[in-house]
Symmetry: C2
Subunit: 166 residues, 2 copies
């Protein structure tokens, strides 16, 4: 199992979402106008790195909060997919579809202004894995400083959103 | 005063931000790649309407959560500016700069999937106006249904973000 899970260390969950679920503005690999964020395991935590675009400004020099919220949102639904998949004994690359999760609740606390320019790192710490629900605590870090803290409750996408298949 | 305040009924706060503070991806009138949302008084509440772009999808047919969070975020900082300005006896158009606020905390609760297509309406209800802090409760409504509920604590932009001037 350890070797099996080792396989997904450098694989990104968004590359394994079914095509129909890969159009999200935040994390869909098939949305060419979107952010296309990528999330992977990093030990027992999860990691997303994102380089903001110059237009992602708030007040000049700082990242606008909506981007931080968007990154934390999609990072956390990706983390939830990874957590449910691993809980069920799978690693990315297995011949079993990755579950697609959506956000039930998102909280973001802006601790410090987020400088616009350097790479942004989002770390996810999984605090609860239920049958269909995952809770993720996140930190958004720039230059070693935690600028935004987030908490997301993600759930498997309901049938009303997926046309019945998951 | 009533007539004075009546003036800003159809004016949008973002049109009165100083140019330096009008580059925000969410609400800056000078950010031509951004969302350029517009927020105004509607009685004692505030109102933003936004037509999502086709690429703002989550799972096909639904709005991605990061957009909802972004709209609630900028709607609420705009609401905070309006609230502080009115508290000080001003209406948009007065020869006094509008205060620029930033988000300290943002909570969003996704009650129902948000359909992608129709106009999105965000309503803000102001529950607290402090010296430099405003708390705004928001509802994001599509086709008469409250899809997302938000709470934002907004504060006047700190000097560290504005280069000392406000």
């Amino acid at each position: 199992m350890a070797q099996h899970q080792e396989m997904d260390k450098h694989a990104y969950v968004q590359d394994y979402y079914p095509d129909d679920f890969s159009l999200c503005y935040g994390c869909g690999r098939l949305n060419d106008k979107g952010l296309q964020i990528k999330t992977r395991w990093n030990g027992d935590e999860t990691l997303t790195e994102y380089m903001p675009r110059p237009e992602h400004t708030a007040i000049p020099g700082f990242v606008y909060g909506g981007l931080a919220a968007s990154l934390i949102d999609c990072h956390s639904t990706g983390t939830a997919s990874l957590a449910l998949y691993r809980r069920d004994g799978h690693a990315l690359g297995d011949d079993v579809p990755v579950p697609r999760c959506v956000t039930a609740s998102l909280k973001t606390e802006f601790l410090k202004p987020t400088p616009l320019g350097p790479m942004m790192t989002i770390r996810g710490h999984i605090t609860e894995v239920g049958k269909r629900k995952v809770i993720v605590q996140t930190e958004l870090i720039v230059d070693g400083v935690v600028c935004v803290r987030g908490e997301v409750i993600a759930v498997m996408a309901p049938a009303s959103m997926t046309g019945g298949h998951q």
